[in-house]
């Protein structure tokens, strides 16, 4: 069952020297209980895609076109006009959208940094989510739920009255997860959740995340530039490059048989802890200037397999075993989707 579907999303940032095409025609689906990994280099539009889903794009950014269909969007609408409206959360009013945020779709930011407000107690910050979305819950009960959820994510209840600076990086990340989970959301979006943590803590947090995801049957989008993180928790994987989604498929398929030259390079660029030793390669060149992307395929200036057509025409999506790839290499070999 598809819970969230993003269709042809375009989010641009308007600057004085032109529009930055941060997210350009991105489409994907997220099923119930599915964990989607969103990978790519910094600045490729992963975070912008997710912030677009949250509708938290600030000036000068703008969601230009596309649809974001959310299965339970109707829950937040006023009863009267349900029938005529679609599930597109881009059509929701700001007031309705606020009921989505933190309640239906929660987002976790990088916890080791300052994703938690330094001047409020963590318990209060977690309870705040409850008090916005379920103001009818009495204070003591709300506090009990905060304590419970903290226990669930593995934080001692006595820490509820601590301030963020009193927690370790891993604990902060757990607290953020608790904050995201306390209202039983349908979807949790995690933006680089473990990036600044050391490897051992990283793996603990990821394990805990995975357990919780299974326990609550959560749908998740996990943004990371670290493929090993994805390998640990995700089932599906989407690779983004320069604002576009270049490959999408089951984790195993993408990892074992990467179709897009960029995906292949990306995987080669990461060490594997368990696999045989291999030489690490870096991808030459930089991501293009998104105000003036190159004609044709965005990746063609760096692509080892570049062909003439890549320089002039944008590749369509070709269907792979369980996803798609946007590369002219598969013209004629695979079906266009």
């Amino acid at each position: 069952m598809v819970l969230l579907e993003v269709k042809n999303l375009k989010t641009y940032f308007h600057t004085r020297s032109g529009s930055v095409k941060a997210v350009d025609n991105v489409s994907f689906k997220l099923g119930k209980g599915e964990v989607l990994g969103l990978a790519g280099e910094s600045g490729c539009g992963k975070t912008t895609t997710c912030l677009s889903i949250m509708r938290m794009i600030d000036n000068p950014g703008e969601i230009l076109e596309g649809e974001i269909l959310y299965e339970n969007a109707k829950d937040v609408m006023g009863k009267s006009d349900n029938a005529e409206r679609t599930n597109n959360i881009l059509d929701l009013t700001e007031v309705e959208m606020r009921k989505i945020r933190g309640n239906h779709i929660a987002m976790i930011f990088q916890g080791a940094m300052n994703a938690m407000n330094p001047v409020h107690r963590i318990g209060d910050q977690i309870m705040e989510v409850l008090s916005i979305h379920e103001p009818q819950v009495p204070k003591e009960e709300a506090w009990q739920r905060v304590i419970d959820i903290l226990e669930v994510v593995g934080i001692d209840s006595s820490r509820a009255r601590d301030y963020p600076h009193q927690l370790s990086g891993g604990q902060k990340q757990r607290a953020l997860i608790a904050m995201a989970l306390i209202n039983n959301p349908d979807i949790v979006i995690a933006d680089e959740p473990v990036t600044a943590l050391d490897v051992i803590v990283q793996s603990q947090v990821l394990k805990a995340t995975k357990e919780l995801q299974k326990k609550y049957n959560l749908s998740m989008i996990m943004i990371t530039h670290d493929l090993s993180v994805i390998a640990e928790v995700c089932e599906t994987l989407a690779i983004m490059y320069a604002g576009k989604m270049v490959e999408y498929g089951k984790l195993r398929t993408v990892f074992k048989e990467p179709s897009h030259p960029y995906t292949q390079l990306l995987i080669d660029a990461f060490p594997s802890i368990v696999g045989p030793k291999k030489e690490l390669k870096d991808i030459g060149g930089n991501i293009p200037d998104l105000r003036n992307p190159p004609p044709g395929c965005n990746f063609h200036p760096r692509c080892p397999n570049v062909m003439d057509i890549c320089r002039t025409e944008e590749p369509p999506n070709f269907a792979t075993k369980d996803g798609f790839v946007a590369c002219w290499l598969y013209e004629g070999k695979m079906e266009r989707t």
Binding site: M56, R98, I100, Q110, H120, D162
Partner: protein
């Protein structure tokens, strides 16, 4: 049962909290005391080492007769070696004796005592207005960054800052004191002084009105520049706080913009403002000297300027001792408030 657990945990944590805060305050108190000690030591030695030091003034001033000079030299220990004089100065200070103004022929504390209420009235009111209006205005313009209001604010700030304070003062006097009256505007303000002669005999409320009426223009000039300074600072802080991750977290929770601003951004943005208080006190005192002169206001700034011009060194020294004390007191209060507002300090 849960409630009691909460209370107990609260209590223990409160206990820890108070302990942290206590040692923080104790540290700050100690620091303030040391700073004050250094400040008055500097004041003392500056005036004894620089040319025109009190001993020379007493020795050369033809207006001080020999026996008075002798008595003063002994009373102030000016016939003693410098280090001994210093301890006498400290000893006198401990007894609240700031010295004797030979210009006014009165104890320094009495002379300062007359002027300081006016200065506190002017600076205190201005300070409170600066803080309250400045922080709110800064928050508003930062929140509406890039709007017409914000552009207008940035423009005003830069224009006003380019104008010297005394020039603005003179302009306001010309406009609201002079032009307004010549043209029979409904409202005008006095161009000089702190009260109308004889106003104190007209009853409390009419006297109060008269004092506030005289206070208005100098206060306005000081407050405009203060508010602009504070809000400029606040605006910068809030703009940078608004890019922090916890603001994103707060919005991702579903909070509306006001809740984000007041519950999350505001308190963080205000922390550096509190530490900035010390700086603004110094600026305020500097501004007060100018403003008190331009508006002929009977405050300590103008008195100090007069004492400097007339080389009444005991009075200058005494005024500096008081001003240094008030400044450090303000700083100390700011740091204690900071300790209460920023949990990172209280729970260290």
């Amino acid at each position: 049962m849960f409630k009691s657990i909460l209370c107990i945990s609260g209590l223990t944590i409160c206990g820890v909290t108070i302990m942290g805060l206590k040692s923080y305050i104790a540290k700050k108190l100690l620091f303030a005391a040391v700073a004050y000690f250094v400040a008055i030591t500097l004041v003392f030695f500056l005036y004894h080492v620089l040319p025109g030091n009190p001993a020379n003034v007493f020795a050369l001033d033809p207006r001080v007769p020999p026996d008075v000079r002798e008595a003063l030299l002994i009373r102030w220990g000016l016939n003693e070696p410098l280090w001994k004089q210093y301890f006498i100065f400290l000893g006198n200070l401990l007894q609240g004796d700031l010295g004797y103004s030979f210009l006014h022929k009165k104890p320094v504390s009495e002379v300062i005592g007359v002027s300081i209420p006016w200065t506190l009235l002017l600076l205190g009111t201005s300070f409170i207005l600066n803080a309250v209006i400045g922080i709110l205005l800064g928050a508003i313009v930062a929140w509406r960054r890039g709007s017409k209001l914000d552009t207008g604010f940035v423009l005003t700030y830069n224009v006003y800052n380019a104008l010297p304070l005394f020039f603005v003062g003179m302009l306001f006097i010309a406009l609201f004191g002079f032009t307004a009256r010549i043209n029979n505007w409904p409202i005008w303000f006095p161009t000089y002084g702190a009260q109308t002669p004889g106003a104190s005999e007209t009853g409390f409320f009419s006297y109060l009105g008269d004092v506030l009426w005289h206070l208005f223009l100098p206060l306005l000039v000081l407050t405009i520049s203060g508010v602009l300074g504070w809000s400029w600072f606040m605006r910068g802080n809030l703009i940078s706080v608004l890019t922090e991750d916890y603001i994103k977290t707060a919005r991702a929770k579903g909070l509306n913009e006001n809740q984000v601003l007041f519950k999350h951004a505001f308190r963080n943005a205000i922390l550096p403002v509190i530490t900035n208080i010390g700086m603004s006190i110094g600026g305020l005192i500097g501004g007060a000297v100018l403003i008190e002169t331009v508006f002929s206001y009977p405050g300590t700034g103008r008195m100090l300027y007069d004492a400097l011009m007339r080389r009444d060194y005991p009075l200058v020294q005494g005024a500096f001792v008081i001003i240094a004390g008030l400044t450090l007191l303000g700083l100390l209060l700011a740091e204690i408030v900071y300790g209460f507002v920023d949990p990172r300090i209280r729970t260290e």
